[in-house]
């Protein structure tokens, strides 16, 4: 199915000029100001570790699973963290199924660097038996709807999933203490992961007139912009990662401005994630209280959406 011109979406020249001229007067086509973020909504699924994040029109689903594996030979006491990004064909007509393209790989790498190198997730607590058994945490990010700025949305989804994920508790047993017994969740309450801080990715778009800078570009703006930069910062003001691959050159003071903006946005996004996780945890605790199912003899029940 390659080379299908019908699948590729192109913005018309009129649209592009309109976006650029509007930006000269600091107007964005969706009515935001240049440094305004879109509305973020974080929802969780039934299971621990499944989240769905909506950033304006962009929608990403995150899923965290864990498995007991042998650790890497050069790091016998550390657990393994791996991120898989799926650019689902439902997100955009130009996404093809099969091997991830370069956009998917880049997105995965940005999020990976933000989490792994900054040691946001404590991998040493994932070690059960040094050299033999460690937990391998796998984060699956499914992009469901491409409304622009996939990196930020996917990052929030990954963080929300990690914060609500619970791994089964296990203990050492057997004759020589070398066997690992994994306790099912009904017997022993599963444990949350240790997350030290939350690295938030904030993306910026640069336009040909270099003093124009926008935060959180939509996919129309992404088709017009000349360069992009993603900065991963946390609420403490630490820079976890900066990614600016190609595109047009920008002055240093613009980069500094971006970093300052990013730090202030990161604080509010971190608060939003933490609040959402709090609500989920309370709901989860309430669900643990077994209630008698209130069902009457109606064959088909329906929920109003």
């Amino acid at each position: 199915m390659e080379g299908r011109l019908a699948n590729s979406w192109r913005l018309t020249v009129n649209d592009k000029n309109f976006i650029k001229t509007a930006l000269l007067s600091e107007i964005r086509i969706d009515g935001r100001k240049p440094f305004e973020y879109r509305k973020i909504s974080i929802k969780f699924g039934r299971e621990d570790g499944s989240s769905e994040v909506q950033l304006g029109q962009t929608r990403v689903m995150g899923m965290v699973t864990a498995q007991l594996v042998q650790p890497y030979r050069d790091r016998p006491k550390e657990g393994i963290l791996s991120i898989f990004t799926e650019f689902s064909p439902m997100a955009d007509p130009s996404f093809e199924p099969g091997r991830p393209g370069e956009l998917a790989v880049e997105l995965g790498r940005i999020i990976d660097r933000g989490l792994r190198e900054s040691r946001a997730v404590d991998t040493e607590s994932l070690c059960i038996l040094a050299g033999k058994f460690v937990w391998a945490i796998r984060i699956d990010l499914h992009i469901l709807d491409n409304g622009g700025n996939l990196v930020d949305a996917a990052n929030i989804a990954a963080l929300a999933s990690l914060l609500t994920f619970r791994r089964p508790e296990c203990s050492l047993g057997g004759e020589d203490g070398q066997e690992v017994i994994v306790h099912p969740p009904e017997i022993r309450e599963p444990l949350p992961l240790t997350v030290h801080h939350l690295p938030i990715a904030i993306s910026f778009g640069f336009f040909s007139n270099e003093s124009i800078l926008v935060i959180d570009p939509t996919h129309n703006e992404e088709a017009v912009m000349g360069g992009r930069m993603t900065t991963t910062v946390n609420a403490n003001g630490d820079i976890c990662a900066i990614q600016k691959s190609g595109g047009e050159g920008v002055r240093q003071r613009v980069i500094m401005q971006c970093l300052q903006l990013a730090t202030s946005k990161a604080a509010s996004i971190t608060k939003q994630i933490k609040d959402a996780v709090e609500v989920f945890n309370t709901e989860r605790a309430l669900r643990k209280v077994k209630r008698h199912p209130t069902s009457t003899g109606v064959d088909v029940r329906e929920k109003q959406n």
């Binding site: 769905e52 064909p89 709807d145 959406n305």
Partner: protein
């Protein structure tokens, strides 16, 4: 006989259904379907120009992509894709747009039993949302046969694993007709008595299978009513700007 199910449902009781359409912005049609805890998201892109290599260019072609919750795509996913493709090919009117491909992407959000029927229902709703011409809707249901012989509908994952056999059945939706002679008839039988798809797992006797069909058909009438209400309600209160 009275059967004790874990969540307190009776033998013929379905889990709470929830369906919402037009939830994605880029896709031409989208729907989210949940039966209890099983949740599936379906998106439709189409009709797009051209057909795939081995397909007949004189008809429209349907392509299904199944995305599991986690992990690689393996043989079970390919099987689901094939079943979905054949089911949807039989309900869509393929002669309206020849030499085009309609892609349906199914994403599993949560699997708690009766996954394939939920996916078929979601895909059908997404096709309606996209405006793809169809002969009738496909209504899918899962029936299980237990070792002691009783039949239950819409099992959860735990129930599915404990059962001796289960069958996924897809029926056309029930017809509400203004004509006095009722629905279309094919060889003397009304069209909604037909079965579009039937996939069974495990061993069951012929009587058990027919019993499942009967129960499934009765439940499909209720499901059709739910679909009809849902489609009518959403088409009146949401104004689609395209």
């Amino acid at each position: 006989m009275e059967v004790d199910r874990e969540d307190g449902r009776s033998q013929n009781q379905l889990r709470p259904l929830a369906c919402s359409r037009n939830i994605l912005h880029r896709a031409h049609g989208s729907a989210s379907w949940s039966q209890g805890d099983t949740k599936v998201l379906a998106a439709v892109y189409g009709p797009k120009a051209g057909t795939k290599k081995n397909e007949n260019p004189e008809k429209a072609c349907i392509e299904v992509i199944w995305k599991p919750k986690t992990g690689q795509i393996g043989k079970p996913e390919k099987e689901y894709e094939m079943i979905l493709k054949r089911t949807l090919e039989s309900i869509c009117i393929l002669t309206v747009n020849p030499n085009t491909t309609t892609s349906i992407i199914v994403q599993v959000v949560n699997d708690d039993g009766a996954l394939l029927p939920s996916a078929i229902n979601a895909a059908c709703m997404a096709l309606v949302d996209a405006g793809i011409p169809m002969k009738h809707l496909a209504v899918a249901i899962c029936c299980c046969v237990a070792k002691s012989g009783y039949v239950i509908l819409d099992p959860t994952k735990l129930e599915e694993q404990k059962m001796k056999a289960f069958a996924y059945l897809v029926f056309p939706n029930s017809v509400r007709s203004v004509l006095p002679e009722g629905s279309l008839r094919v060889e003397g039988e009304p069209i909604e008595n037909g079965i579009i798809t039937s996939v069974t797992h495990g061993i069951m006797s012929v009587d058990d299978y027919f019993y499942c069909l009967e129960r499934g058909r009765a439940a499909s009438v209720k499901l059709s009513d739910f679909l009809r209400r849902n489609l009518q309600q959403q088409s009146t209160d949401s104004s689609k700007a395209g």
